[in-house]
């Protein structure tokens, strides 16, 4: 475990890996039928959302039981600024993540006053308040019939080209997140997450550092939510609801806590199961549940841990055969 984490600590970005992944996804988007392209877009958006949540879970020592708020508010920021305030679409797209970051700042400032389970419960309370307001203030938010028609679904692009836009945005955001995690700020966030008392002794106040992590996470979740709002061309209270929160948490757990790739691996597996298995098996969530239990029991480091083990095994064999 420690060895895996040390390897993840490498500062440099493996550009070859990024380039290969980018090209593979871009080609897949263009060769796939629309439905597969939709699934890939969904995976990309949720990979960003889960990665943003993972910043809190794996690095900052916080748990958010209401992270869909920042995802959904991105989509609502986009919709409300365009539909209600008459802003142009580009301004709405910029506004979405900023609205999420603003709420991340307000709710985060409250939540960091507490620690552990108490802070987690407060994130849940903030989420419940937000959901209730969004659901009930229907003159402004559209209530349960949401807001639609403010932006053409996928900006009127073909699934393949919209997929490329999403791929570019998500790649940039995840690279930015990588830099944050490995920059001095990220190291401080980790220090606070691992041992707040020792970090405080070094002059890093827990609240301020965790708040910074919270706002970054909220902003990136907002980017994902804004993309999702554009993808479907609408927004509904469900986007800020508890099910989207659970989706994010499950993805990170599946992907493997304490690993940078948790959100990415988790989103791929979860959405793959969601898209494929749901067709054949009505109770596919049961399968997810069983897989989650197995992961927690057999490989607490999740898919990331499994991948690392396999890579280690292969490398060991290669090295073994060389000697």
């Amino acid at each position: 475990m420690a060895a895996e984490r040390r390897r993840g600590d490498a500062w440099s970005i493996d550009w070859r890996l990024v380039a290969v992944a980018f090209v593979v996804v871009a080609v897949a988007l263009h060769l796939s039928p629309p439905l597969v392209a939709f699934a890939i877009i969904e995976v990309l958006i949720f990979a960003l959302y889960a990665s943003a949540l993972n910043l809190l879970l794996s690095y900052s020592g916080m748990v958010s039981f209401g992270h869909a708020v920042y995802f959904g508010l991105g989509a609502y920021g986009l919709a409300i600024t365009i539909a209600k305030f008459g802003w142009p679409i580009w301004a709405g797209i910029v506004a979405g993540p900023l609205v999420s970051a603003f709420f991340g700042l307000v709710y985060g400032a409250l939540c960091v006053q507490l620690t552990a389970i108490y802070a987690a419960m407060l994130t849940l309370a903030c989420a419940e308040i937000t959901f209730a307001v969004v659901f009930q203030w229907f003159d402004f938010t559209g209530g349960d019939s949401g807001i639609s028609g403010h932006v053409p679904a996928m900006l009127g692009l073909s699934p393949a080209w919209f997929g490329i836009v999403v791929l570019v945005v998500v790649t940039l955001c995840i690279l930015a997140l990588w830099r944050v995690v490995h920059a001095p700020l990220g190291l401080t966030i980790r220090a606070v997450g691992e041992n707040p008392v020792r970090a405080a002794a070094m002059g890093h106040g827990r609240k301020r550092v965790q708040l910074a992590a919270f706002v970054i996470s909220a902003f990136l979740s907002g980017v994902a939510g804004t993309l999702y709002g554009i993808f479907h061309g609408n927004v509904f209270p469900e986007y800020v609801g508890v099910l989207f929160t659970i989706d994010g948490l499950v993805m990170v757990l599946l992907g493997g806590l304490y690993s940078f790739g948790a959100g990415i691996y988790g989103a791929i597996v979860y959405k793959l199961l969601d898209n494929v298995m749901a067709h054949y098996f009505e109770y596919w969530q049961l399968v997810i549940g069983v897989i989650l239990v197995l992961v927690v029991l057999v490989s607490p480091a999740g898919i990331a841990g499994l991948v690392a083990r396999v890579v280690e095994l292969v490398r060991g064999r290669v090295r073994g055969s060389e000697t």
Binding site: I82, A132, Q136, G143, S145, N234, F236
Partner: protein, 404 residues
Amino acid sequence: MKKAIRNGAVFAATALLLGSAHAAGVKIGYVGGISGACGGLTHSARKAMEIAQEEINSAGGVLGGPIEIIWRDSKTKPDEGAKQTRDLILSEEVDLLTGVCSSSVFMAINPIAKQYEVPLFSAISGTHKATIDFGHPFVVQTQPHTLMEGKALAEYVARKGWNNIVTMGLDYEWGRTTVKVFTEELAKLNPDAKIARQLWPRIGETNLTSYITAALADKPDLIMAVMFGSGTNSLIKQGKAYGLLQRTELLTFLSTESYMSLGKDVPDGVHGWARGPFYALTTDAAKAFVAKYRAAHDGEYPNDWGILGYDVMYIIAGALEKAGSTDPAALREALGGMTFDTLRGEMGMRTIDNTFNAPSFIGVTKMSDEYPFPVMTDVNVIPGDVTLPDEATVNALREAAAKG
């Protein structure tokens, strides 16, 4: 090798062509909340639609072939509903769509039907926004929507001559909109009526005693409760302790599954409205359907959504036969001038908002000797022609929606 590749390509192309060639008959995509919040409602719709499908197919089908239905679960989630709809259109190449439960799923599916120009027949969701505010040529509503129900309630209350009224609406869109329309329409129908108080319980709130005491304090002739499911259950149960039904009249949403689940807990004398109560349908066709449904499902009775589901299948089949093809424009053209003998009576669609003049049913509960649950007696059937909003209202709503 080259030859092998060429043969393979020809084979693949032939297979594709054969696969995409449209067989006779019709392919209908059903998107509904088979699981999730709508699960309890839609199971009956599905059973009823399967009966209609079997009847239509055994009578020769439509357009020279059988009706095929592909069932998809929206999980009562808008994004899932949208995904399933796209899949039905792009992968399954369905000719038209139906089902739809919950406003959010309807609103999520609606623009997709518009984009791909696939007719969408909503049978279960009651929001008016999809056909009016964001209406388009390919979306059809076959049941009374929120605006129609609000007006039907005003009609009923005006008939009864109740003047002092307390409204109790669940604090979200459905509750607020229904109360608003009810209040506006009642003022036109009975200028003497006054709304003494408006109360807005939160959705999911189980303790309603403070609302009950506040409502009774005004000594109303009527409490008009725009509530459903557990809200209605709590109101009736907790109201007993305050003698609510002895002190005032109560009017609330009571579709058949509410009676079935509450059973004897529904006291006599509650005024309820419904969308398709099987026991109030008197035609031979309705009786035959109920008998068939019960025989196929261990004596179970269909709920309102079953009636609506059965009707929509015959509306679709009838319109397709007249149109002579699945072409959306031809279908709409055909629908415009048609009337249908549905289980709920004769109905037709008007073209300004593709909405059927579906009736609303309002009556008074009474424990029944015939059924193991109470039913409504003295059922007033408020025809859709009375409750459909006028063209000016439709246009005003559309303009407001366009402005945002």
